[in-house]
Amino acid sequence: MTAEHVEARAGAYADSVTLMQISAEVRKHEGVQAALIAMATELNLGLLPGLGLAAPDRAGPNDLLIALRARDDAALAAALATVEAGLLARPAAGHGPAAAPRTTAAAVRAAGRGLVLVSVPGRHALAEAVDAVEAGCDVMIFSDNVPVEQEVWLKDLAAQRDVIVMGPDCGTAVIGGIGLGFSHTLAAGPVGLVAASGTGAQQVLCLLDLAGVGVSAAIGVGGRDLSAAVGGRSARAALAALDQDAGTELIVVVSKPPDSQVAAGLRGYAATLATPVQFAFVAAGQPDLTAAAEAALGALDLPVPVWPQWPGAAGSGGAGTYLRGLFSGGTLCEEAMVIATGWLGAIRSNIPLQPDWRIDPNVVASGHTMIDFGDDELTVGRPHPMIDLSPRLDRLAAEAADPDTAVILLDVVLGHGAHPDPAAEIGPAIAAARQLGQVQVVVSLIGASADPQGLLRQAGALQAAGAHVFASNAAAARFACEAVAVRA
C-alpha cells in the first residue's frame, strides 16, 4: 500500500537549486518512489502526471510544491522530515566567500555537525571542546596538557549530550574509515578498537593490517581515561558504541596500565555486551601488544603470520654495555621497558616503571635508559616527535657518543600526521651514530602496508643505514635486550 503526499504550500519560497538538492536528498531514501519538490510553476505541475501523482487543487508559481509517493507511511514520514530539514537549512549567504569561522561553534553553525578535531594548545582546548559537545558533536582532543578536572567535566557533559569525548591527548582514531591524528591507511574489517593509548593502538592496528585484517573503528579515549580520576568514562561510551556497531565482531581495548578498580569495572561492563571484548593492558605479567594482536587473530580464527623483520648490520663490538631507548610513542616506550626490565633490571626513564627509576629526560644518563619524547612535559610549545624528529636525532648522536652505550632502540611511526619521510632523516643519523659509537641500532617500525610513507621503502632505507628493523615493537625490544645481554 503506497502512501502519497501532495501539497502546495503558500508563501513558501526557496531557490531552484536548493529545491533540486532537497529532491535529490529525498530520492535517496529507501522506499521513496517519486519525489518532486519545486515551485508550483506550470512546467513543474505538468511533471506530476508522469510521476503518477495528481496535481493539488489550487497551486500557483509562488507556492511550494511538495509531491511524494513512498512505499508506506513510515517512508513517507521520513521523506517529509528530510524536506522540512532541507527547507530549514541555512543558505550559504552569497556575496563573496564568508571569512573562515573563528570558533568551533561558528564552524558547526556554518558547516553543520561533524566530528570535531581539537589540537589547539591544551590550556585553550576546553573552549573548542565545549563548543563541540554543546552543538551535539563528537570530539577528539588531540591536545595534551589539558587539566584532568576539565577532562572529567567535559566527559560528564558529553554523557549528558549523548556524544563522546576522545582524549585529551588522544593521538589516534579511525572513524568512518577516516584516520584522525596519527593514523594509518587501513582496510575496513571486523575489529573495533578502544584505545587509551595512541601508539599502543597503532601497533595493534598495524600488526592486524600486516595480517590482512581491517578495522571497523578505533575510538581513542585519551591516555588518562582509565585512571582513577577519570574512571573510564569515555571507554564505556566507546564500548557501547562499538557493541551497537554491526560491523564490529571483536572489540580490543588497548591501554597503558589502568587503575585496577577502573579496569575491573570495565571488564564487568564488557561482560554485559553482546560483542566479545579483549583487553590489552601494557604491564608486567600481561601479554605484550604483539601477543594481543595475535590473540585477536585467534579469536577471529585467523592464522598468525610471521611478523616482518629486516635484519641489519652487527655492531663492531665497542665496550658499551647499556641499552638506550629513544621513543616517540609513550606506550611503545612502556612496552619496551616492561620487556627490558625482565632481562636487564632497572630501566631509568622519564616515564619510569618504578618511581625511583625517574631521570631528567634532557641529559644522557648512565645505565639502561629509555626516554619518551612524546611525554607532555617535552611537547609544551613544540610539535610532537613523530612530526619533528630533531630532538631524537640530536639525542641519538649524543647516546652514540657515550662509550657506555651498546644498543640504541628507536621507534619510527608512519601514517597520516607523522613525518612524511622519517627514514630520510633517521637513516643518515643511524649510519652516523653507528660509525661514531660502534653501537647497534634497533628500530621498531610501526606502519601499515598502504601508509603514505611506504612501509617497505622506509624499512629498506633504515635497514640500509645498518639498523635492525622490526614490525613488532616487542620483538625489537627483545632483540635489543639480547644484543645487550650478549655484550654484558
Binding site: H95, P101, R102, V120, A127, D162, I175, G231, R233
Partner: protein
C-alpha cells in the same frame, strides 16, 4: 553517541593544520577553524566560566527573553511625569559620572538643559551651579531610560513611553532634535534652547494626542521592516521615521490641533532622518532588560558611553558597570572638522548594537556604508564578523543581503575574549568642546579591557559551582 560510527564523517578542525591536511588527503570534508588564542591572561577565567553549570541554560534563557520582548509606543509625556524627575535632576548617557570628569559635549548639554529648565539664566551661571554640585546627575539606564549622545533628560523634556504588552516592562527616551547644532551633541546656543521649547510646547503634546488617538504603535514591527529597507536603526533611521509618520499621520491630522502646528510637526519629523532612533533605542532596551539578571549568563545587556567612560553591563553580573576610558571614533567629518575636534565615544545608542542593530546590522544598510567610512563589502563582512561573538540570530530582524539571515544578537563576553573580535559600533561624533555640536560620524569599538574584567566577575560568581567536582558516574 550520535551516529559517530555511521556515515562518512565531516571533520571540523581547530588547531594544527597538518592534522586537517591529513584528513583532507583521505578525501573527507574538512572545515577549518581560523583559531587564535584568547585575549592574554583570560585562559583560566574562561575555563571557569565555560564550566559554569548554569551558563548554557542561562544564555538560552537570556536569548529567549530578548527575542520574546515586544516594544510598543504607548504614550508621549513630560519626563517629570514619566520618570518623576524633579527640578535640578538630570539624566545622562552612559555609566555614572560627575561634572568634574564629564566631557565637553556632556557638560554643554547639561548647561543647555539647565537654561532650558529655567534653573540658570545663562550657560555661565549653569556652569557655576554644576561646579558647586547643585545638579543631580544619574544614568538614564538607572531610570528605565536611554538617551542618544549626551543623553540629557530634564524634567520638562517630553519622552516617548514604550511598553512590552506581555510583561508591562517600560522604557523611555526623549524626542529626537535632529542633526547639527543640537543639545545631545553638546550645543546650547539660543537656537538649541528655542527648539527644545517648541518640542516641549508643540511637538510633544501633538504626538501625545496622536498616539493616544491611534493606540499603541508596534515599534518592534517597524524595526523588522526598516532593516529590510536599508536602515540599521543607529545611524540610519530614515525608513523607520517615515513608517512612524505613516502610522501617526491620520491621528495627527485628526488631533484637532491647529493645522499649522501639525504641518510644522510633520515637516520636523519628516525632515529628521534620525527621529526614529529615539524609538529604536528604547525598543532595544526593553528587549535587553528582559534578559537582565540571569545568574550564569555571559550575555551583554547594555553598552553605553558618557563621553569619558565606556560602560558595559552583563546579565550574569547584575547592575555592575564594567568601565574603561572610551575610544574615539574613526570616520568622516563634517565641514572643516577633523579628528582633533572629536570627543571620545558618547551615548546610550550602543544599545542598538547590543541588540543586534547598528554596526551589527551594517549588511542591511549598504546606503550608509560610506558615511561611516566603509564599503558595501566591508558592511557585509562586519555583520558576518559579529556572528562570531553573538549567541543567536534574531528571528524577526533579518538581512535581505544575507539571504534573510537573522541579525547577530546577544553579545557573549566569552566569545569576544576567545576571538578577540570587539563589537562594532556605528556612531555620531560630538565636538570635543562644549557647545560645538556634531562634527562627524564613524565607527568605534568598546575598550577591550572591559571584557576581561567582566569575565573575571563572571568567573568569581561561578567559582564555587565549578570547583565542586561532579561525582564519578558509574552506569
Amino acid at each position: 553517541m550520535t551516529g559517530l560510527l555511521r556515515g562518512e564523517p565531516q571533520v571540523i578542525s581547530a588547531g594544527v593544520g597538518l592534522l586537517a591536511d591529513a584528513v583532507e588527503l583521505q578525501a573527507a570534508r574538512v572545515t577549518r577553524v581560523d583559531w587564535s588564542p584568547p585575549m592574554a591572561g583570560t585562559a583560566d577565567d574562561l575555563a571557569t566560566v565555560l564550566r559554569d553549570p548554569r551558563r548554557a541554560a542561562a544564555n538560552e534563557l537570556a536569548v529567549r527573553r530578548m527575542f520574546g520582548a515586544r516594544a510598543q509606543l504607548v504614550d508621549v509625556l513630560p519626563a517629570r511625569d514619566a520618570l518623576g524627575l524633579r527640578p535640578g535632576e538630570f539624566l545622562h548617557a552612559g555609566p555614572p559620572i560627575t561634572w568634574q570628569r564629564a566631557s565637553g559635549p556632556l557638560r554643554g548639554a547639561l548647561l543647555g538643559a539647565a537654561v532650558f529648565e529655567g534653573i540658570a539664566a545663562d550657560p555661565e551661571t549653569a556652569a557655576g551651579l554644576a561646579e558647586r554640585g547643585e545638579f543631580g546627575l544619574s544614568p538614564c539606564h538607572d531610570h528605565d531610560a536611554v538617551g542618544p549622545m549626551a543623553g540629557l533628560v530634564s524634567p520638562s523634556m517630553w519622552v516617548f513611553e514604550l511598553a512590552d504588552p506581555a510583561t508591562g516592562r517600560r522604557c523611555y527616551c526623549t524626542l529626537n532634535e535632529g542633526l547639527g547644532k543640537v543639545l545631545r551633541y553638546g550645543a546650547y546656543s539660543p537656537e538649541v534652547i528655542e527648539r527644545l521649547r517648541w518640542m516641549a510646547s508643540v511637538l510633544g503634546p501633538l504626538l501625545q494626542a496622536a498616539v493616544r488617538r491611534h493606540g499603541p504603535v508596534d515599534v518592534t514591527a517597524i524595526l523588522a521592516q526598516m532593516v529590510q529597507m536599508g536602515d540599521e536603526a543607529h545611524n540610519r533611521n530614515r525608513t523607520g521615521t517615515l513608517m512612524l509618520l505613516r502610522d501617526l499621520l491620520p491621528s495627527l491630522i485628526e488631533s484637532g490641533k491647529p493645522s499649522a502646528d501639525v504641518a510644522a510637526a510633520v515637516a520636523f519629523i519628516g525632515g529628521n532622518d534620525h527621529f526614529f532612533l529615539n524609538l529604536a533605542m528604547p525598543a532595544c532596551k526593553i528587549a535587553l532588560d528582559a534578559a537582565r539578571d540571569i545568574p550564569g549568563s555571559t550575555m551583554v545587556v547594555a553598552m553605553a558611553r558618557n563621553g569619558t567612560d565606556f560602560g558595559m553591563q552583563v546579565s550574569g553580573t547584575g547592575s555592575r558597570w564594567f568601565t574603561a576610558p572610551a575610544n574615539t571614533p574613526e570616520g568622516l567629518f563634517l565641514g572643516g572638522y577633523g579628528p582633533e575636534d572629536a570627543n571620545p565615544d558618547i551615548g546610550d545608542s550602543a544599545i542598538t548594537e547590543t541588540a543586534g542593530l547598528g554596526g551589527f546590522a551594517m549588511a542591511a544598510a549598504p546606503a550608509i556604508a560610506r558615511l561611516v567610512g566603509g564599503t558595501v563589502a566591508s558592511a557585509l563582512a562586519t555583520t558576518r564578523r559579529m556572528y562570531e561573538i553573538t549567541l543567536a540570530e534574531h528571528p524577526l530582524l533579518q538581512v535581505p543581503a544575507l539571504d534573510f539571515r537573522g541579525l547577530p544578537a546577544g553579545i557573549d563576553v566569552a566569545l569576544v575574549l576567545r576571538t578577540g573580535i570587539l563589537p562594532q559600533i556605528n556612531t555620531g561624533m560630538a565636538g570635543r568642546v562644549a557647545g560645538t555640536g556634531q562634527v562627524g560620524a564613524g565607527l568605534v569599538t568598546p575598550p577591550a579591557e572591559i571584557f576581561p574584567a567582566a569575565l573575571l566577575a563572571l568567573a568569581e560568581a561561578a567559582g564555587s559551582l565549578v570547583r565542586s567536582r561532579p561525582d564519578a558516574r558509574r552506569s
